[in-house]
């Protein structure tokens, strides 16, 4: 942008300048990266890599990135930058019939913000519990008469007990709501206070906070990487993760998982990216930004999976060694062999020898079969990875308090930077609505948003709260996004017309749109989204939705009990999935009715569709 204004500048220019803007380009890129890089990069991608054939999963992942992720990302960033408005106003500007797309993405941002911050509440709870010696999830508490360990803890593990009982205090069924857990309420209040502190003035404050929350996780990941690689068993874990099994490419489920992972990982269709780019100067290379953010997000996923799997390999190896050691003690006791005669290395030789000479004695010992593969196969994703598996691995490391504190601060930063994007997706459109008058200061509006969200999210701190969070995650944070993204692409390409959009992008970046963007925006991305949506819904409908409940009275305890959702819960699931999507046809219908009613009085007017250049007429051109 040129520094000196042209002499013939129209006097209304200062109105555009009152829109807040980023301090520098780096802040904007960092905010987008922070929004895209979240908890899923750490606890979902490595799991998918592992169960879908290791290194072979990268093939469908990168194909999905090139044909779905990058084009959609570029579309959103270009749209926000061009129209310089939040999601609701931007889509209304594209076409009044498409205003519902903006409302839908606003709705999704609201729903996701509610439950995402509760996950951060759990992280904070673990963080503040990491300052004790010994770590509270490493020992089982005693039972009432102090004769033994607590039964629930003894049957499962100390880590499971701390998560299910001490943190969640979970009920065996989703219909039993239980009471509010006061410690979670306190942590929830603290989390929403932190979110308020960082988003109090919109991007003025998040822009400063993002320097810390976006960069800190990379530092911690590097520390974990270095430490993880030095742990015994790390190489087994990494080999297990990355060994490619090309046969999985024949399974369509793998392709579906790759497409959905890329889509949700980039945080598309939330409206947050549109909000971020709307604070940019219009003459900004959004094409390069989109490619940068997408590639950094994918590389972060890969980078994060290395320490995660080194630590998981270490945990599996330690479990395997413990199993071996227990067997060795039993054998030595039984056969009265001298100490140190059987070691881990010659265990298999001894077992075969003893089995051939004294098979009845060996059978009588009831030795557990120790198989390293079995330990490695215990794969978990999601909150189970962080709060059960990883915490167990941390206990085994020397200096566990420090590692726990580092790990949970990293998770908190990752989640917080994603929360900024979610809250911006809620905040920016509200600021632009006519209903919110200019006299309400931004601090008050963000305070109201945080307070209302806190009050609603209190229901996630009930004993059955984590079941509800699973529901929100599965239904509100998945299907509506696919629908909204589909309408985004088709709306821009076929309603706004891609020729006009190409002109706008050319005006902004200074380069013509090349063939790759034309083809992906016109055909490949909408088609891919449609296929993914249909496949996703088909998979969900195939069987009635079930959930796994933690029931200490279950016969297979500590295995979780599989239960079906009662009908009223299923109705809520459908409502969550349908509610954001319903706004798309509703608003279109409303506009149609309004137009028909108005066309009775006035002559027929086509809906106002205007281009970027008209919106930004006050900005000067670059010197050619």
């Amino acid at each position: 942008m040129s520094k000196d204004l042209p002499i013939d500048m129209p006097p209304e220019a200062p109105k555009e300048d009152s829109r807040p803007k980023w301090d520098n380009k780096f802040q904007y890129i960092l905010s987008c990266i922070g929004f895209a890089v979240g908890l899923g990069n750490v606890w979902r991608f490595p799991y998918l890599c592992q169960i879908h054939g290791g290194g072979a999963f990268l093939i469908p992942y990168f194909i999905a990135l090139i044909f779905e992720g990058i084009p959609l990302l570029h579309l959103e960033l270009a749209l926000g930058q061009c129209l310089r408005k939040g999601s609701i106003s931007a889509w209304s500007a594209i076409s009044p019939y498409l205003g519902g797309v903006g409302v839908g993405s606003w709705m999704v941002s609201v729903l996701v913000s509610l439950y995402y911050n509760t996950v951060l509440t759990w992280v904070m709870w673990y963080f503040i519990n990491s300052f004790q010696e010994p770590l509270p999830w490493s020992v089982c508490p005693l039972n009432e008469n102090r004769t033994g360990l607590n039964e629930e803890c003894y049957e499962s593990t100390a880590v499971n007990y701390f998560w299910y009982r001490k943190t969640l205090n979970i009920t065996p069924d989703i219909t039993e709501s239980g009471t509010l857990q006061w410690w979670l309420v306190l942590c929830l209040a603290a989390c929403w206070a932190i979110v308020y502190l960082c988003t109090i003035r919109g991007i003025e404050t998040t822009g400063k906070a993002i320097y810390v929350t976006a960069i800190f996780p990379y530092l911690v990941l590097t520390i974990f990487l270095i430490h993880g690689l030095t742990l015994p068993g790390a190489t087994e874990g990494l080999a297990y993760l990355f060994t490619p099994d090309l046969n999985v490419l024949k399974n369509p489920r793998v392709w579906l998982d790759a497409a959905t992972q890329i889509f949700f990982s980039l945080s598309l269709a939330f409206g947050g990216l549109i909000a971020f780019s709307s604070y940019n100067p219009p003459k900004n290379d959004c094409e390069k930004d989109a490619v940068t953010v997408a590639i950094v997000n994918s590389l972060t996923s890969l980078y994060a999976s290395i320490p995660v799997f080194s630590v998981l390999g270490f945990k599996a190896t330690t479990g395997y060694w413990d199993c071996l050691d227990r067997n060795i003690i039993s054998i030595i006791n039984e056969f009265d062999l001298p100490e140190q005669s059987i070691m881990r290395e010659n265990y298999t030789d001894w077992i075969t020898f003893l089995n051939s000479s004294y098979p009845e004695k060996i059978a009588g010992l009831k030795l557990k079969s120790c198989d390293l593969q079995e330990f490695l196969d215990q794969s978990v994703s999601g909150s189970g990875l962080a709060f059960i598996v990883f915490t167990q691995a941390i206990i085994l490391m020397p200096g566990s308090q420090a590692w726990a504190i580092l790990f949970f601060t990293m998770l908190f930063s990752l989640g917080l930077s994603s929360m900024f994007g979610n809250i911006e997706g809620v905040f920016t459109p509200l600021l632009e609505l006519q209903i919110i008058s200019k006299s309400i200061p931004k601090e008050l509006l963000s305070g109201i948003i945080c307070l209302v969200s806190f009050l609603i999210a209190l229901c996630f701190t009930l004993s059955s709260g984590s079941y509800w969070i699973d529901i929100f995650d599965r239904y509100a944070g998945s299907v509506p996004l696919l629908v909204i993204a589909f309408f985004e692409v088709t709306g821009v390409v076929y309603v706004y017309k891609i020729k006009r959009f190409s002109e706008d992008v050319k005006w902004m970046t200074g380069r013509k749109l090349n063939l790759y963007w034309q083809i992906t925006w016109r055909f490949i991305s909408p088609l891919l989204l449609l296929v993914v949506f249909v496949a996703f819904v088909a998979l969900q409908i195939q069987k009635p939705p079930t959930y796994t409940a933690w029931n200490p009275k279950h016969e297979d305890f500590p295995m979780k009990e599989e239960k079906a959702y009662p009908p009223w819960v299923q109705a809520i699931c459908v409502l969550l999935a349908v509610l954001p999507c319903i706004f798309v046809p509703l608003v279109a219908l409303f506009q149609l009715v309004k137009k028909m009613w108005r066309s009775k009085d006035l002559s027929f007017l086509s809906p106002e569709v205007f281009s970027c250049q008209e919106v930004n007429r006050n900005f000067s051109h670059p010197k050619k």
Partner: protein
């Protein structure tokens, strides 16, 4: 050691080392033992008494051999577990208090700074209005050059910029 234990428990001073009989001694230092009662003519002391005695003095036995409950095992005598050490306030509450204080301080600071900024802006805008009311001419400076000199005919009209006006659609 066992003899000492029996003495302590039953307060009988007569139990000697010779009253403790060993059998089934193995190379791995495990053995069976019985305690006889010399006052009652070589009958063995009941198992429950021996168990109770061992339980009472377990710590002492362990320490004598520098062993622990995990390394010195008495079959059928489970160890009595130590009561957990609980501080008066849970540690996590203290950490939480610190974190919350920091957050609240931050919020108060930002809100107060915002209010002060707004007051300053209001004061500035009222001052500017007062100046304009008094009819004082404000000199706008553009790149260090007062605007009035720029408006003089000494400048050239740049054809590129003025031609651009026609490209915009009029409102």
């Amino acid at each position: 050691m066992v003899a000492f234990t029996m003495r302590r428990y039953s307060s009988k001073t007569t139990t000697q080392i010779s009253n403790v009989l060993l059998c089934n001694v193995t190379d791995r230092v495990s053995f069976w033992f019985v305690v006889t009662d010399s006052t009652k003519n070589t009958t063995t002391v009941p198992g429950s008494e021996v168990e109770a005695a061992i339980r009472m003095n377990r710590n002492r036995i362990n320490n004598a051999f520098l062993l622990s409950d995990k390394t010195l095992q008495f079959l059928k005598i489970p160890s009595t577990l130590a009561p957990p050490v609980e501080p008066s306030t849970p540690v996590w509450l203290i950490v939480f208090g610190v974190v919350l204080c920091l957050i609240v301080a931050g919020i108060v600071f930002l809100v107060v700074a915002g209010i002060q900024q707004r007051k300053k802006k209001n004061k500035e805008s009222t001052e500017r209005e007062n100046l304009e009311d008094k009819g004082e001419v404000t000199i706008t400076i553009e790149n260090g050059i007062p605007c009035e000199t720029l408006d003089l005919k000494a400048g050239h009209i740049n054809g590129v910029f003025s031609a651009d006006d026609e490209r915009f659609t009029s409102l």
